[in-house]
Amino acid sequence: MTVQPRSLFEKVWDAHVVATRPDGQALLAIDRHFLHEGSFHAFGMIDHAGRKVRRPELTFAVADHYVPSHSRSKPIADPEIANMVTMLEANAGRHGLRHFGLHDPAQGIVHVLAPEQGLTLPGLTIVCGDSHTSTHGAFGALAFGIGATEVSHVLATQTLWQRRPKTMRITVDGVLGPHVTAKDLILAVIAAIGADGAAGHVIEYAGSAIRALSMEGRLTVCNMSIEAGARAGMIAPDDTTFAWIEGRHYAPKGALFDRAVEHWRTLPSDDGAVFDREVTLDAADIAPAVTWGTSPETAVPVTAAVPDPGAEADPVRAGQMRKMLDYMGLAPGMALEDVPIDRVFIGSCTNARLEDLRAAAAVLRGRRAVVPGLVVPGSVPVRRQAEAEGLDRVFIDAGLEWGEPGCSMCVGINGDLVPAGERCASTTNRNFPGRQGPNARTHLMSPAMAAAAAATGRLTDVRKLDVRKLGAS
């Protein structure tokens, strides 16, 4: 009997099917369920129905979306925001869940915290009421975002009904150029396939450029899978993955770790595994990227000019481009490197890990920021390590603010907003209208590029600055 070659995704999926309906819907077992302050709707649903959390030991609550970036010694001033943070604690407490609250030494953005604490492991199914749950696929987990009703379903049953998605393999071979990072790579992918290019698909990222990435870089790539419309993004686990996991707080230890690694080594896609779609990119073609519009698919090399809607044949598309340019306050044909910025934000579940902060600090060391900016590490451990390395001093000496961990100005719901009309160079994942605040203008880019923009006050090709130390996601 020949065994059908299977992809990484297929192996993880098949291992979690509890039941299948005749119409093809599968009931999937869920190994990890992460919750944040926004889960109050879901707790309300299970409480209303009188249901309990089925597997509290697999369910973790993390305060990240509403936590303050500034001093945490005083109570949160806004009563509605304070209520979001305390409501999560109350719901977690009532249902007996581990809660990483405002003052926990492990606190951070859930998609930074969980890998750091060894909660994210290869081969797991992971869900969270947050679209950037795709981040955890960097470990070879099947991880995706869900809505409140699905969160309540997972709380009550530790399962989820899903239709098996299609598969797409994105292969990036070659070597990324100097100052070209994982962020530039994923922006190039999204620009190539479009913001809905991977809708209904799970992406597997493969190729030598992916294999060469650190775990931080892989997390950045998988994080933005959702910005290409993908259900999830995955990268096969390898020695880089296992080395990252070993010794972390919740990771298996000793003989159990060895047994797990033995299993994890069976997960990578078999030779001959078939994907519904194949996309290839050459790493050498990828340049430091920025977005010009209000969708991540508008990423272009920083050396490019603002595109001209007049050159677009489809009148509806041309109208949509004009609307984006109008919102962004840009004129067709303008060199992106001539676009002045008003502030920078370095942070988010995309780019707030140690490697990101090191890359930004490498650019800013010995320089002054000419615009205001905020640097928000992804977790308390990241913040402590950055401080041990003196990175906080680099940012503070450059004139930037050094914040406390959380989602902060990526989504702005803790009160960190880009003022209306201001243009922000941002290491985040979404440049949607109003995302960082009503009428705020967001240009997405890597940490090194945001740091370069801070130093010059305009969108800047970091390759043109003299920077000593390289390497970042």
Partner: protein, 198 residues
């Protein structure tokens, strides 16, 4: 949730691609309880002069016809609450954000996916005949536009069943309780590292 079977109602066209859930429901409203009236927050920051949803010609619209990648972005179910509480029962587009589409089905909001040119034609007809109605027949899986042409659409059979019957899927899942228990027992043997031990 309210079952969805048949709907004949005015439709409003929205010529915008990549309408994300931040536009549907700006993040600052996420901390509001559902009782705050999510319909008031729908497209809150997009309500500028000329916005079709505020055009009296489209008053009473219950169907929204938009462009590709509708509902992309954040997983916030509040974006669906805003549409449903704002009176909408159906959104038509060439493609949808996956999480949005899943959330919609859980709340009785039908997402109809049709080819890009068919949706563009539908939007144009609605712009030329403001206030015109469309008819959605979910059991037959057809959408009939102002020109009287019935367009067939595909839908996941499970989603269709849940919508037509207004099913709560936790109740459905609990029928598989024995299978879930058996899975958990076998998995604890096969992958003992899954439950964090620390």
């Amino acid at each position: 949730m309210d079952p969805f079977v048949m709907l004949t109602a005015p439709a409003v066209p929205l010529d915008i691609a990549n309408i994300d859930t931040d536009q549907l429901l700006p993040a600052r409203f996420l901390k509001k309880p559902r009782s705050a009236g999510y319909g008031n927050f729908l497209f809150h920051d997009e309500r500028k002069p000329g916005f079709p949803l505020d055009d009296p010609a489209y008053a009473g619209a219950r169907v929204l016809v938009s462009d590709r990648n509708f509902g992309c972005g954040s997983s916030r179910e509040g974006a669906v609450y805003a549409l449903v509480d704002g009176g909408f029962r159906c959104v038509v587009a060439p493609s949808f954000g996956d999480i949005f589409a899943a959330n919609a089905a859980k709340n009785g909001l039908l997402t109809v996916t049709l080819p890009e040119d068919a949706v563009a034609t539908l939007r144009r007809q609605l712009q030329e005949n403001p206030g015109a109605a469309v008819t959605v027949d979910l059991p037959a899986q057809t959408l009939t536009g102002p020109d009287g042409r019935a367009l067939s659409f595909a839908i996941d059979p499970f989603k269709k069943e849940c919508l037509v019957e207004g099913l709560d899927d936790v109740a459905l899942t609990l029928r598989h309780q024995d299978a879930i228990d058996a899975f958990d027992r076998a998995d604890a043997e096969a992958r003992p590292w899954v439950v964090p031990g620390a």
